[in-house]
Structure formats: C-alpha cells, structure tokens
Symmetry: C2
C-alpha cells in the first residue's frame, strides 16, 4: 500500500505493542443550565439553572436542553430515550435529535453558522442522529470533548414527546485512575511571600493543567481531543515533559516517538504531525522547529526512562532532521526564514511555527532552537555512549558541539543588539518574547544579559505569544535565567486569566485581551483542551512549588 | 411495565417463535445518474447518465452524486470511504456526509424544506454521518427503502478529497430467495383477446406488485418500509391474501395476527396498528373497519394454512371486535358514521378509514364491511367446528347469520336507490366506488343489479378512491360481479399508470390526475412502496391470468 512505502515496520510494531489501556468512567450530569449573555464574562456567557430532567420532563420538536456535566472530559454520551404518548396515542415515528458538545458555553450558546473557519467544518462538535424506535438505549456516535451537551429535538410526531433517562458521560483517558500527583504545597521558603489568593490560583491552574493533559492522553498524546486529535512533535515534547513530572508516564511518550520515527517522508524527515488511525501515517506538512525538537524529546525520554535501547533506535531519525534544518543557514551561518503570515500563508513544506502570532519574525527563534537541539543531540550521544556525529552538516566535519559554537557566534552577531540588550529578528529588527526566550534556552545568552533581554521584551512591548506553547517557553526561559518571581507572576496572570474565563482545561490559543482570537478564523474551531497548555503543571514543579 | 398491562403473553410468545429469517443480498449500483426536470414525466423528473465512480472520481465540500441501484429494495448501504491527499497533503479531518435515499427521483432531486408534512419530519429519508478517519468501511446507520441514493459531501478539509469504493446496497427481506411465483401466461382462452401491450403491462404490474410485497415482508408485514413500518390490520389482510397466492407465506401472516391479538386495548378491541419494536405494542388509534376485517384475515389464514388451532386461539379476539362495531348501528340497524374530513380531522378513537379520499362518505361502506365480516365470522365458526355465537350483538340473541340477514335488509332500505340502481351514502346520497364495491363484496347485491351499480359508479362519475387499497376492493367487486374485463382494464389503467410514472414498487396513494396528492400534506411523506398496492398480483391470479 502506498501509505506503507516509507514505514519502519519494526518501529511501528514497537509502537503497537505500547498501545495503552483506555479507562472509562461513567459520570452523571450535574444539572441543566440555561446559557445567558454576560458582559462581564470573558467569553461572553454565563448560566442560570434550568429546569431539571428528574421530574420526567418531556420534549417535542424544536425544544432543547443544555446539560452541564461539570469539568471537562473526553468520551461518550449514553442515555435511554423514552417516548411518552399524548392523549392515548403511542410513540409512532422515529425521533431525530441533534447534539452539540461544548467545551465552553459558546459552543452550546452560539450558532456555528455562518461558518467562517478555514479548517474542515466536519470538526464542528455536533451530531444528528435518528432513533428508530422507543424506548431505546442510545449511544451517540463518536468521541467528544465536553463539559456541556445541548440536546435539540429535531423531530418526533405529534402523538408523543420524548424523555431522557439515565444520561451518562463516559470519560475516557489512557491516564490511569488516581495517578494525579500531590497538589502544590508551596513548602519551599522561597514561596513564603506568595499571597493566599495567588496560591489558590496556582493550585487551580495545576488542577486545570492536569485535566488538560489527562484528556489529551488517549491512544496517543493527542494535541487536542476536540480537533486534530493527532500527535504533533512540538506538542508531544511538552506533553511528555509535563507527564514525566506529574503522571509519571513514559510509555505513551515512547509510543509516540516510535510512531513518528515509523512514518517518515521518503527523505528521512519526520512530518510535523502523525495520525494513528486507521493505521499510522504522517501528516503532509513539515515544521522545521518541530523536526529538530524531536531530538530534545528523545533525549528527555531517555533521561526520564533510562531506556537507552529506545534512544539508540531513535537516534538516527533525530540526527537525520538536522540535515534539512541546516540548509536554512545562509553564508554567515545565520538561519533565515520568510516572514510568516497567517494560517493560509504557511509553506507546508518548510513551515516555521514558533507560535500562532501572525506578525512574529521567526528567524532568530529558529536559529536558537537549532542550537538548543544540537546541544541535545550532543548530550544524547553522550548518554547513549555514541561517538559524536562528525557529519551533522553535510560536506562539513563539524560535530554537534563545534556547530553549536559556530551558531552561537553567528547568532550573537546577527541577532543580538548590545546597545538595546535584546535579540532581534527579521528585516525590521523585531523584538519579541520568542527571540529572547529561545536565545536564553539555547544558551546564546545567560546571566544578567539574559535577564535584561527577557525583561525588556516582556515589560517594554515585545511581540507577544498568542499560544500557551510560546508562553511556556517564555516562562521556562524566566526560570532558566533565574527570574522565578517573574515566572510565577506570568503563570498566574496568563494561565490564571483562562481560569477566570471559565477554563476547565487550557486552550490552544489565548490572548486575554482578544479572547476570541482564532488562527483558523472561527472561534468554534478552537481547541479548548490543548496539550501544550498543560505545561503550567510542569512549570510550577520546576519552580519547586510542590 | 405499563405497556404490558393488557398483553396476552402466550400470544406474544407464539408470535416471537415465528420471527422470520431476514435474507440479505448485496447489490452494486447500476450507475450514476443526474436528475433532470421533465415536463412529460408524471412525477416531473427523468435522468441523464452521470460521470461514474469507476475512474476514482473524488469529491470535496458541496459536491454530490446520485447513484441508481435499479429497482427498489429495503436495506442498508455500505462502502469504503477513502481520503485522497491533495498536493502532498494527507487526510487530516473527519468527513461529514449527508445521504438521501430515494424511492422515486423526487426524493433525491427536490428539497425537503420547507417541510409542510403533518407526520414526523424524522421520517424524511436522509441521514448525516461523520466518518472520523479514512480509509474506513462505512455502513450508513438505519434501514432504508430506495432505488436512488444521493451522497452529498458536507465537509472534508482543503487537504484531501474523498473517493467512494465498493458501494453496495444490501437488500433485506424475510421473503425467501427464489420464491417468486411463475409469471403470467394468460393461458386461459378468456384472455385471448388481450393485446400484447396489455399483456406486457400486466406482466410488469405483476413484477412490481411482487417487489412491493417482498419489500414489505420484513420482521412483520410492514405497511411500508419507508414510513410507518408497522402492521395495520387492513393492510395486513391484503398482504397476507396476496402472499397466500404468490409467495405462499402463511407463517408471517400468523405471526402478525397473533401480534395484533397479543396487544389489545384494555376493553378487548384491537388497535388499528401495532409496532413490534422494541417490543410489541399497539398503536393509539382504532379503525372500526380494520377491527372487523381482522375476522376476515383470521378466516383467510385458517383457509390458507389449515391451522385450526390458531383459528381457535384468535377467534375470541375476532368475535370481540363486533361488540364495539355494532354500537355504531342506529335504531334502524343502519351504520352511521360522521362524514370524514382529511387526516387532521380523524377521530382516533373511532376512525372509519375505507380510503384516504377526504370527501368520501363512509357509512354505507362500513355497513357493508360489517356484513362481510359477520359472514366471515360465521364461516370461521363452521371451519373451527364452533357453535354459532349467539350473542354477537349485546343484549340480543342474534347469531352472525341472522344479524347478516337483518343488516342486508336495513342496508337495502337505507342505502340502495332502486330508481338509480346504486348504493348511496351520507346526507347527500353520495354515489361512490366504495359504496358499490363493498355492497357487492358483502353480498348485499348480486347479479345484474351488482353489475349496474358498479358500472354506474365507475363510468358515471362516482366518488373515486385515492388509494390502491380501495382500488383493490373495486376490482375484487368487479370480479365477484363477473366483470372480469372491467377488472383487467382497471388494473391496466390504474396500476399501469404507476408503472408509467416510473414505479418500481406501488404507492400508498395514487391518483393519476393528481400524482402528488398526499394525505399527509407532503409528497416526501408518501410511501412509494406500500403493501396494500401489491394486490395487483392477487387480482391477476383471481382473474386466472397465471
């Protein structure tokens, strides 16, 4: 089969042997709610209590109800649908129902039409079913990500109404039950100054982060269970790192690393994303930064698990990615990429992601990510007792470490502006969070210089990130630079603003001042449970708050 | 459970033991068609050939195709849905598809909205599904009645198109394979005068009738597999009669007779219809004529099968129905019912059906049906070696036969107009096909008087029937009165006009001059495969054409 052409069968067998058990937990609804517009709610909606279903409430054409299951889960919906005859009549026709699954109230309170999104409309979380005869136990097809469920009765006959009994959500995850880590205690004296409200918020942020990660842990580490439902390398790296320090999973991470290595392009590059159903296959797009961050993900897996054998398996795939990435260097050994536009201007064959901010210049960040990944490659070689690769750059004899030295030097020359104390990127010397964060993480700058660069970009209007993905690396850079207080403050302000907006899991894209921003031109295409935002739990642990 | 209150458990056990085997036959589509408006087609549409699917034709959002499977079947649709990446991309989203199943071209060529029907909109033959990952073997949920299938691609992503492979219909019926009777030969000298084109048409009418009956033979004798999908007594009687003389089934008829007797109202009446899923339960409505025709159905079953034991089981139920029906007699022993209006003016507790013609006066017909049914009761008693019931009419000592004599006399007095030679009904002395046909079938008239009455109503503008149900009884009366040529002529003109309109199975309602007439105010709610129209095959055999 065409899709098998470049597969590594052994890798896929290993991945298959690591398929996790899915745990299912039945959960009743907490109650019925009525969405109500709110000018003070960040996303525009609040709820009033609605008439419950306990008293045998029945429904006819055009009537609907919104159930609130509390929290967020990924899973299925079941119920018993009963027909109640009117005036001596009996159920005498099928019943057609439309379900809308809401991660946030907007999903169930707003119309999806007119549809403006640029991704497949088939991702919209709605399903219409027809139940032929009543009473019947119904399982709504497909798996959903939701807190709310709107049930709209499209059609019954005039002779009967319908009643819903025993409505249950069945939450599904491959994260084992009771694997939540202990909560945050802030026992370290260095957090003694934190106010109670901040501690309370950080504890809630940790809970929501863990729920986010849990709900993305399915047969693979999904980026988001509502949409995409696939493994993206960049997302996987952060999910795995967070899980190593919380749920202590290493096997699902291993499975995903093997899956990615198992379905490369014909030239050995690994795709930005991969699908595991109906069989493993790669996505059609290639993200330069993701491809080299794969090396970091392999290194971190070996460090977390001690599984040197897997490291040796995956090392050649990791090494291979640099060949392509290094072709982006110009004659001065500086990585240069086209200025990015929005989603629709992406070069799918050479995509530089870094963040969904359309106006971000990415050259400086990619250059730093290259350095960071080469450092990881070198560390991995040491850890695996492999000789340093001497041919990272084709037609050169550079080892990873000597290449790092070269690139640090070219980076400082090309991107660092000593007079301003910041790293810039692009023709217009753009100052951004991304450029500083990645320069710090790559070790291109350190000490006071790193602190100044980060503070300047952060406090003096540098181009910001619109995704928790970039916010993660910003906070990681704060921590690496010794700016723990700033890290804590930013976690509280950024992830906390999602909590204040009602998040039960953290979002794919989030700009507090522009809460409905969507890279896909439709708020309904947002993933409101997105793995890369689960790193708040990783960050608070790195800060020693546990 | 409430629904079990008045059940006869033994009857339902017997019915359950008679559940038939369903036979499934896979059938590929004949090709792709494009519906085209036609001013000469009775139903307004014809087809042109469309681009086939063999060459790997692919589809994206908004594109659709109409498949023609030829003929008519009841069953399921399966196919393999394949995603075909565009420009190096891969299938990366679910695919949402909408299916419309067409018994006639109108179903797939016209919009269902705005919906004007008075029955549940859930009967509209359309289904939307979302296929999460590709390739995948897909089975469209639910069972459908169709010749055509329109597949509309609601949504894929911009990165792939979809291809449909191995599309199969799986025709389902409980009619055993190869049970078709020999075709019509017209061997009897009395048909020597028939023109070839009439013989050809009658042969086609027989084929379409048998297909109609076959597709209504499911777990029960359904009235129509597209809509209702239940057993109505009046429909069942004609289905069973037709089957006795063609497919030779008696067991499915037995099952349905037991099912009806198994779920009566609390006062012993049997409902007009019954549902067998998810468990047997009666409909909420009561049709006087249907309830007493149950006796005819039991008698005919015993005659066809020799199953006296079942006859004795069901006799008390049959007898019970007369108690209620006889309360409709006035002081002159004449049956009087309210003039009927349309569907929405039906008295569900005392419904007199006879036909769907809104303007038909039914009193005379019901009176005759009462006589016919009492005669059947008497014959049944003889056949079962039971003494004549002496208490058919409460507080009287009439036996069925003495009551028949009484009612024949009162009928001729109340309804027959010797000067016109016809039976009338209602305040306005309405002359109708129904009044003559039932008077003849009940033996209220015979010989030349019967011939004159029938001819007058038929040829001089009597109120007609709009359903094949009444057309059946008209033709049966022609045959009983010795008007075989008229019977043959009417079969050719009436059932033949459905053939000319493209019928692959015969319709529930049909008026050649008003082809879109619907008792339910929506042509899309029509059953285009309706059991009571399958009697053409019975009638041609009664005429000795086999």
């Amino acid at each position: 089969m065409a899709h098998l052409e470049h597969q590594n069968a052994r890798f896929l067998e290993i991945a298959s042997s690591l398929a996790p058990t899915l745990h299912s937990t039945p959960q009743p609804a907490l109650g019925v709610v009525v969405p109500v517009p709110s000018s003070t709610a960040a996303l525009g909606w609040t709820t009033h209590p609605g008439e419950g279903l306990e008293g045998g409430r029945t429904f006819t054409d055009g009537e609907e109800v919104v159930l609130d299951f509390g929290g967020h889960r990924v899973g299925h919906l079941t119920f018993r649908l009963v027909g109640v005859g009117i005036d001596g009549q009996m159920p005498d026709s099928p019943c057609r129902l439309r379900f809308t699954f809401g991660e946030v109230l907007n999903d169930v309170a707003e119309e999806f039409e007119p549809y403006t999104g640029v991704l497949s409309k088939a991702w919209l979380p709605e399903e219409t079913i027809t139940v032929d005869y009543l009473p019947q136990e119904v399982r709504v097809p497909r798996r959903w990500a939701f807190r709310y469920v709107k049930i709209h009765v499209v059609a019954v006959s005039v002779n009967f109404r319908v009643r819903f009994e025993n409505i249950l959500a069945h939450a599904v995850t491959s994260c084992p039950p009771n694997s939540n880590p202990p909560g945050l205690t802030f026992a370290s004296p260095k957090w003694a100054h934190l106010e109670e409200k901040d501690k309370t918020m950080l504890q809630r942020i940790d809970e929501v982060s863990l729920a986010t990660l849990r709900d993305c842990m399915q047969e693979v580490y999904e980026d988001g269970p509502r949409r995409d439902q696939r493994v993206w390398i960049g997302d996987l790296r952060l999910q795995a790192l967070t899980s190593y320090s919380t749920f202590k999973d290493t096997q699902l991470a291993k499975r995903c690393l093997y899956l990615h290595a198992g379905v490369p392009f014909s030239d050995g590059r690994i795709a930005a994303g991969m699908f595991h159903l109906p069989y493993p296959y790669r996505s059609g797009n290639f993200i330069v930064d993701y491809s080299i961050l794969y090396t970091c993900a392999v290194l971190e897996y070996v460090q977390a698990s001690g599984d040197v054998e897997a490291g040796r398996d995956l090392y050649p795939t990791a090494l291979k990615q640099f060949e392509f990435a290094l072709t982006g260097l110009n004659e001065e050994n500086v990585y240069v990429c086209q200025e990015a536009g929005g989603f629709e201007s992406i070069d799918q064959e050479r995509w530089h992601f870094v963040d969904w901010n359309d106006s971000l210049s990415r050259s400086s960040s990619i250059h730093s990510i290259l350095i960071l990944s080469l450092r990881a490659l070198s560390t991995l070689e040491t850890l695996l007792s492999l000789p340093p690769s001497s041919h990272v750059l084709p037609s050169s004899t550079h080892s990873p470490t000597s290449l790092v030295d070269l690139l640090v030097e070219s980076s400082r020359k090309a991107f660092f502006r000593p007079e301003q104390g910041v790293f810039v990127s692009g023709d217009k010397d753009q100052i951004s969070w991304a450029s500083q964060a990645w320069a710090v993480l790559a070790g291109v700058t350190e000490g006071d210089e790193a602190k100044v660069a980060l503070r300047k970009a952060y406090e003096e209007g540098g181009v910001e990130g619109v995704t928790p993905y970039l916010h993660h690396y910003l906070v990681e850079a704060f921590i690496k630079a010794g700016l723990d207080d700033l890290a804590a403050k930013h976690i509280i302000s950024y992830w906390g603003s999602m909590v204040d907006a009602g998040a039960e899991t953290f979002f794919e894209t989030w700009v507090p001042s522009d809460p409905k921003l969507s890279p896909y031109k439709s708020f309904a295409l947002q993933s409101f449970c997105h793995a890369w935002s689960a790193t708040a739990s990783l960050l608070v642990r790195r800060l020693g708050m546990e």
